[in-house]
Subunit: 460 residues, 2 copies
């Protein structure tokens, strides 16, 4: 496989320049002032794909466009691989915590620092370059390829599922390949076997028409902050389990083999705790930290707001109290069903002296991968070859709702093959991507295509 390293070795510097051009575009999809920048990043992806030899176009949606590239040269009888990524990035605030400006990529200590370096421009870029190298040197790919890069992943992909449904035939494929996640550890590549789903609600409790004096009215007018606290307090039992009736009904107990495999991973609990600066770890009793993160559902408070929150004392009886509450879901929990259970629970717990409003803000299905099949095996072998060690199977506590949507709509398995590293600050200041993973990532993907070409994914 040495020739593949040679293929990109001489071009690595040029590749890095191109990646930096991509990272310099402030494609913050959540900010209207960056609308043109975001679209520009989509056009940049289209131009790259066209240069590599794909038929490429920017397809408009109601929001940011989708960059779509196609190479169908393997013929109607050959399998098709759909590559998904996104060219938009998270907001950069708080700016003052960045060591170097988020849109001026910089290499320090072997890391490429920039917003989007890991999530997901840097990883999408690896795929674009792998295709370019293969088409340039071989003139063909062993499979048909469709590249779909969206510009709204960081705002909940509102237009992606409709697009996938509307272009179901054009996007028909045998597997979906996504690089938008992390390896288990430096030098320890991994493939994902699970993603958690999401059901995100906002609960508002209202009592009086406006804030009141807590002396003149306290004790006689219901306090919405206290009602809210008792609702939130009722979401868990003493064992750290979610106490919403029915919450666990659809949870699939994981097989002992997977649990054993998770427990066998070289996970450094102390380093994990130190990394987040927590006084202690904790959660559902009877499960390890990785199990709590990967295969157990949660119900978390993401925000609380009521009354006076400034400095000092203000004797106010709040008129309203708000909690943002989100559940991370595991197979086979359904986000709509969980939202319904939560609504019912809150309805039971809240006294009728207050007004309760519940809004659903966000949802996503959990996903459980099937660690088999030719694409999965090819990815596993390619990672082993590039990193010199067998990849481990890991779960992911976060949510990528489109993964289960792809499987459902397109009927194809999804392979989650990530090259970022733990602590890479996705969604946080000083996001980075390991510089040497630019080369290792492209090598992995070249190797993967090679294996698909031989028909024997384990070959090589």
């Amino acid at each position: 496989m040495g020739d593949r390293t040679d293929l990109i070795g001489t071009r690595l510097e040029a590749f890095r320049d191109e990646l930096f051009d991509f990272l310099r575009i402030p494609s913050v999809s959540a900010r209207s002032e960056h609308r043109d920048d975001t679209n520009r990043a989509g056009q940049w992806v289209v131009d790259q794909m066209a240069r590599a030899g794909l038929e490429a176009e920017l397809v408009g949606t109601e929001g940011h466009p989708i960059a779509l590239g196609e190479w169908r040269g393997a013929g109607d009888d050959a399998p098709t691989l759909l590559i998904y990524g996104h060219y938009d990035v998270q907001p950069v605030e708080p700016l003052h915590l960045w060591t170097s400006p988020p849109f001026e990529p910089e290499v320090r200590d072997g890391r490429i620092y920039a917003r989007g370096a890991s999530d997901d421009k840097g990883q999408l870029f690896l795929h674009l370059k792998a295709l370019e190298v293969l088409l340039e040197t071989r003139g063909e790919l062993p499979v048909n390829v469709v590249v779909l890069a969206e510009g709204e992943e960081e705002v909940g992909s509102p237009n992606l599922l409709p697009f996938v449904k509307a272009h179901r035939e054009r996007l028909a494929c045998d597997a979906v390949l996504i690089s938008d996640s992390q390896m288990f550890a430096p030098g320890r590549p991994s493939l994902l076997f699970s993603l958690r789903g999401l059901s995100y609600l906002e609960i508002r409790i209202r009592s009086a028409a406006s804030d009141l004096h807590s002396g003149s009215y306290g004790g006689a007018v219901p306090n919405p902050a206290q009602v809210l606290a008792s609702i939130v307090g009722s979401l868990h039992d003493e064992q750290g389990r979610v106490a919403v009736p029915g919450f666990y009904d659809a949870v699939v107990e994981w097989d002992q083999e997977t649990r054993d495999e998770i427990r066998s991973l070289p996970f450094d609990e102390e380093a994990f705790q130190a990394g987040v600066g927590a006084r202690a770890l904790g959660g559902e009793k009877g499960f390890s930290t990785l199990e709590r993160l990967w295969i157990r559902p949660t119900c978390e408070v993401n925000g609380l707001l009521s009354g006076y929150t400034g400095e000092g004392a203000k004797t106010v009886l709040p008129a309203e109290a708000m909690a943002k509450v989100s559940c991370r879901l595991v197979p086979d929990q359904d986000p709509d069903e969980v939202a319904r259970l939560l609504r019912e629970h809150v309805g039971r717990v809240a006294p009728d002296t207050v007004e309760v409003e519940i809004r659903e803000l966000h949802r996503g299905h959990p996903w459980r991968g099937r660690p088999d099949g030719p694409y999965f095996q090819a990815a596993r072998a390619a990672l082993r070859q590039a990193f010199g060690t067998d990849p481990v199977l890991t779960g992911e506590g976060g949510s990528i709702p489109i993964v289960s949507d792809f499987e459902r709509v397109l009927g194809a398995p999804v392979i989650l093959l990530g090259f970022a590293l733990p602590g890479c600050n996705m969604h946080a200041p000083n996001e980075w991507f390991p510089a040497e993973h630019v080369e290792l990532g492209i090598i992995t993907l070249l190797d993967l295509y090679q294996r698909l070409g031989t028909g024997d994914p384990e070959d090589g």
Copy 2:
């Protein structure tokens, strides 16, 4: 008494202009950016007193100064009346709920709208004007008078008690008169027989060093907002009673006569509820609304803050959660003892996976008045004369900690004679004071001095 009405009738418009000047000063003592404004309001009071004929000075403290005025013309053998008020006001947030700007006084439907209109600039002003009218028209007062107006009442009067103790002899008096409360109802003047005390704490729960991704860490790192909610939820039982062990130990059960008197008051529950726009009333089981407000202690949440509180969904696992919690106390609860009980309770309830910090922000003793003596009788008769009906005795759910301090340090009874009305939005947006009470208030006070002069408080 008609002459007194005439005395001020022609000057009412000028008085209102002066009051508006006073109300325009944004003397928000809690905000450092208003420090100069607050001091300016103190100087305004000094200037008014000097113009009226009092010896007046602004006395510095470690915080905002005290405006002190003295008139000793009645001689050493005559009794002395101490008038207390405050020239600082509550913060005005949330600003968008004000119909007119808080520091641009405006009359609408017979109400003067402005921050401080009722609490307490508007009521302090009545005393300044009564003294001015009397000294201008009669050249003297029937009693010696000391006026003490502080600028830190809304931040817990940190420097007042030390000042009173240090100037015990200069402030020596036979009665203290305070107008910082409400009448029982429109047309129904009242005198207070009780005030609740206060113990105000801020509870902070901390877990990780910074906010985390709720997917990547949720379920394995303790959530401080959930811990806080369970603490707050543990503060009450199902009967609406405070569930902090020991909380009720020092509560004096009120005599049946007082309870009967409270129940006999023409209190309109429905109007009270409609006035605050509440869906329902509620509180400790076994007590009426007025009892809940006047003679029962409470524990209220004044504020909650944690994590993401903006629009939409952000999947954050908060690093910290904060609650402001204040207890209203009744005789003979001690604020320090209650704070200690709360600390102990939180310590028992909070898990050791998080860091707990509790700060005491504010405290005040409860007060129970003695409805007798010449000053009380004079006040009762003056109210009857001015409003044409006998004042009722009422409790007050709020706290004026200095009241019990005055009684303890100066050994003089305190008369609480308020002219604001229920629903006047003290501490809330759209604070107002009834416009006609400017005149009625001054008339009442002129009549009160007249009665003190005759030596027969019931005369007239």
